[in-house]
């Protein structure tokens, strides 16, 4: 059986159309499936807007860009909020004063001799509970640590004397 030429073209087109129809049905049913199963995140207009607004809200609430100013209103993963300055009160082991936890580090700096004023100070007997360093000047006999006239060096290498310091910056002079 031989196929005449014009029919060949027509038949081929027919079969091509057939194949194309099958493929079109496949594509349509695939899209339909994805839409119905909700697998396409961009499909629903409303959901898209809700997602965008949720993103914007997250950006606003993000602590990294509001800095320390708004920390009171930031909630951590347990749902707790913390004040920006810690408020528990401790006793300084150096000078025996009650210090707020948030102010403890700056206090220790001054208390233990990083600051200029602390280094110039002389130990005092009246309120200091412990004096670890001495400079050869008259020291209290009340201190529990042994005091010697030799200079003890602080860890940072400078000889220093620890003493008390008032928070307003003044300290008792010998």
């Amino acid at each position: 059986m031989s196929v005449p030429n014009e029919d060949t073209t027509q038949l081929s087109s027919h079969f091509l159309g057939d194949l194309l129809d099958s493929i079109i049905v496949d594509v349509a049913s695939e899209c339909h499936r994805i839409a119905k199963l909700g697998l396409d995140p961009n499909l629903d207009e409303e959901e898209e807007e809700m997602r965008l607004s949720a993103q914007a809200r997250a950006r606003v609430a993000d602590p990294s860009n509001s800095g320390e100013t708004n920390n009171k209103y930031v909630v951590d993963i347990f749902g707790q909020t913390h004040p920006s300055v810690a408020s528990e009160i401790f006793e300084c082991m150096n000078c025996g004063r009650s210090i707020a936890a948030g102010r403890f580090a700056p206090h220790l700096e001054k208390c233990m001799g990083k600051g200029r004023k602390a280094r110039l100070k002389v130990t005092r007997s009246s309120t200091a509970a412990q004096n670890r360093y001495s400079r050869g000047s008259p020291v209290s006999t009340y201190s529990p640590y042994s005091n010697s006239t030799t200079t003890n060096r602080l860890p940072n290498g400078t000889p220093g004397v620890v003493g008390e310091e008032y928070s307003n910056g003044t300290y008792p002079e010998p």
Binding site: M1, S2, V3, D7, T8, T9, L11, S12, S13, H14, F15, L16, G17, D18, L19, L20, D21, S22, I23, I24, V25, V27, A28, S29, E30, C31, H32, A35, K36, G38, D40, N42, L43, D44, E45
Partner: protein
């Protein structure tokens, strides 16, 4: 209205009169030239399927259409339509009717030519 060679009387059941169905398909006796003989198309179709060539052609066409972006275009059309109508109101049928005219028209010529060539080759070999 279907042309019939013989008048076929309506069936009577109990006392219920059935309306003539104007769309009733012709009974085989009244059929025209469609007869029981398979057409050339049907013969070739069977040959295509039996030899596995139809499957191969389909895979080739699928691959070509993906490569040229045709499938993505059709998917985008579907998604736009679904977005407009709401995803719970769309049927496969809707999508098929949506895509078919545009799909048939937007197949690239090179792809069409390649497939037609392969089909023609098969026809030639099958016809011998």
């Amino acid at each position: 209205m279907v042309k019939q060679l013989y008048h076929v009387p309506p069936k009577r059941r109990r006392f219920i009169r059935r309306k003539h169905s104007v769309n009733r398909p012709p009974t085989p006796d009244a059929a025209e030239d469609q007869g029981k003989e398979p057409t050339l198309q049907e013969i070739i179709n069977i040959k295509l399927i039996e030899s596995g060539e139809k499957e191969r052609l389909m895979e080739l066409l699928r691959e070509r259409l993906i490569d040229c972006g045709w499938k993505d275009e059709m998917k985008a059309l579907c998604r736009a339509y679904i977005k407009k109508k709401g995803r719970n109101n769309v049927t496969v049928d809707d999508l098929v009717h949506l895509i078919t005219p545009k799909g048939r028209a937007s197949v690239p010529d090179s792809v069409k030519a390649e497939l037609l060539q392969r089909i023609r080759t098969f026809l030639m070999s099958a016809a011998l």
